[in-house]
Amino acid sequence: MIRKRSIGEVLFDAINYMLLAGIAFITTYPFIYVIFASLSDSKLLMAHRGVLLSPIGFSFNAYRMAFVNPNILSGYGVTIVVLVAGVSVNLLMTSMGAYVLSRKTFKLKNIFMIMIILTMYIQGGLIPRYLVINNFLGLGNNLLSLILPHAIMTMNLIIMRTNFNQIPGSLEESARIDGANDFIILFRIILPVSKAIVAVMILYYGVHHWNSWFDAMIFLRDRHLYPLQLVLREILIVNSMESMIESGAGGDTEAIGESIKYATIVIATIPILCVYPFIQKYFAKGVMIGAVKG
């Protein structure tokens, strides 16, 4: 049954579309700039200021220089492995945590919550953390050091818990009547109904793993284990040696540095852009249909 739209609604829609298009345009522009800049001739880029309407002096040089680095391919590989393993661990741990924190029967719920939130406010600092992970657990130079210490991000845990809280208790009740235990309830009932939030978690944790480099920098010694972002950082710094006052003779290094800065962003971001549309469909409305019945 489609109700006819009033004039006000039509007007609203029109404005809405225009507004959103405007927002899309403004937010897209930086990325377009980045793409154009990465395909530009560095020398011309250096002298240019302001808006870029197309690449100046088309050149693939920046990408060529970036891929010359032998570690880029291994960087991609390592990052993918860490991401898959990491996100799996994240999902498992976070959903378990969110689940228990949203169960009314869990007596320790509030204590847990407080203790967890406290960790956001009291921190030991870099060195003690390093000592725990490297010395106490012996995870130095091991990819697990990138996964385990980040098994749960508290913010995400809280968000997921909030979502679980909103799921009608009737679902759980009926399951219990049928004799289900908590594991079954979590994995067969709660999670399937929370597709949207799971999708968000995959996105948040995925991007977090994809972009991280700091832990790799301090825990990994082997260059072949460097994740993508760390490799890209190196390329960036190596190619824009403004700090090396003593050396840095020719203009070569500096010039390429300008467009490489942008190429590294493109290299790092394109994969995520490709993945996002797949996740997006979980944000569609109506995931909850039928779940409440019975």
């Binding site: 378990m96 956001m120 030991g124 809280i158 852009l273 944000f283």
Partner: protein, 327 residues
């Protein structure tokens, strides 16, 4: 013992209620509790372990705020200095200014930057065309992935003397000058560019929350003859309110934590008056060696304490006013 919504254990069949009858030993009570909810505790175990190991384990390091930390000596052997570092910071000539700037930038970010993604999500929600919606969504989060250094470079470009934004600004009657050199504009530039960069990414969580609203409710409202506005007020907003509130509380509890990177990239002595914040000032203090670790930790501890107070207040307020809160 609090439960969300106040519904008590009447409906639960498997869990047993804990009785605190006199005479029953504590251990028996605990055992009974654990066995009747054993799966819950099994699930909670790895989570607890994670926090204990990786968060509470290193926590002893926080004491260096009260010591003169020497890397070689380690945390335990470094000498105690009490509140010396805090004192140094509080007695600083610029303390007041730093606190003020940090607070006001944060506040503006909260007032403008927090609602922006929520609004975007709501607007997107009203769009019927699936493809338009998805496209705008995808495009809007792109700036999130561009590094701060590049964004700052763009800001310098656009806000420079002959930058694009400056052109617009003069068109609207402003004086032509490098916009980053005016202390009064700094906050606005900082906050608005922040919105520009994060609005898309930030809206994702709200879109997810919106999609979790039962569409049956919308259909029922449609049958009742409700217009869009009524649907918005009575279904949409209440549906995403818990998420919004929780995130608001968390954001308030993070207010004083503005990182130094963006500020450092955009400020200069002309704008110190409004732009210099706690973390950028501490960053400039940098080169002190071991002193640096202790000092930074002390200031961090100070900021965290204030943040915690803000969090507690926000949470308590939320408990009174709504049904949603952290605990």
């Amino acid at each position: 013992m609090e439960s969300v919504g106040g519904v008590m254990s009447k409906k639960f069949i498997t869990s047993g209620t804990v009785s605190s009858r006199d005479g029953t030993s504590l251990i028996k009570i605990i055992l009974k509790e654990v066995t009747s909810n054993k799966y819950l505790y099994i699930m909670a175990l790895p989570v607890a372990l994670y926090y204990l190991l990786f968060h509470y384990g290193p926590m002893y390091g926080a004491v260096i705020a009260f010591k003169d930390y020497n890397i070689a000596k380690g945390v335990l052997e470094s000498p105690w200095v009490g509140f010396k570092h805090f004192q140094t910071f509080f007695e600083s000539r610029y303390f007041g200014r730093l606190m003020r700037n940090t607070f006001f930038i944060s506040l503006e970010q909260l007032i403008w930057g927090f609602p922006a993604p929520v609004l975007l999500a709501l607007l997107l929600n009203e769009v019927r065309n699936k493809y338009f919606k998805r496209t705008v969504q995808t495009l809007s989060y792109l700036p999130h992935f561009i590094s701060l250094v590049v964004i700052a470079g763009m800001i310098h470009d656009f806000m420079g003397r002959d930058g694009l934004i400056t052109d617009l600004f003069t068109l609207l009657g402003g004086k032509r000058t490098n916009l980053l050199s005016v202390a009064g504009y700094f906050r606005t530039i900082y906050v608005s560019t922040g919105i520009w960069q994060q609005i898309g990414w930030g809206s994702i969580i709200y879109l997810a929350a919106l999609s979790g609203i039962d569409s049956m409710q919308y259909e029922a409202a449609e049958i009742d003859g409700a217009g869009r506005l009524r649907k918005l007020l009575h279904i949409t907003i209440p549906g995403m309110l818990p998420t919004v509130i929780i995130l608001l509380i968390l954001n308030i509890g993070n207010m004083l934590n503005i990182g130094f990177q963006k500020v450092i990239l955009l400020y200069n002595p002309l704008t110190y008056e409004t732009a210099d914040i706690i973390s950028s000032f501490v960053y400039r203090t940098g080169l002190g060696g071991s002193f640096q670790y202790s000092y930074t930790t002390a200031i961090g501890m100070f900021q965290s304490t204030l943040n915690l107070i803000l969090l507690l207040s926000a949470n308590r307020l939320s408990r009174k006013v709504s049904e949603t809160s952290l605990w």
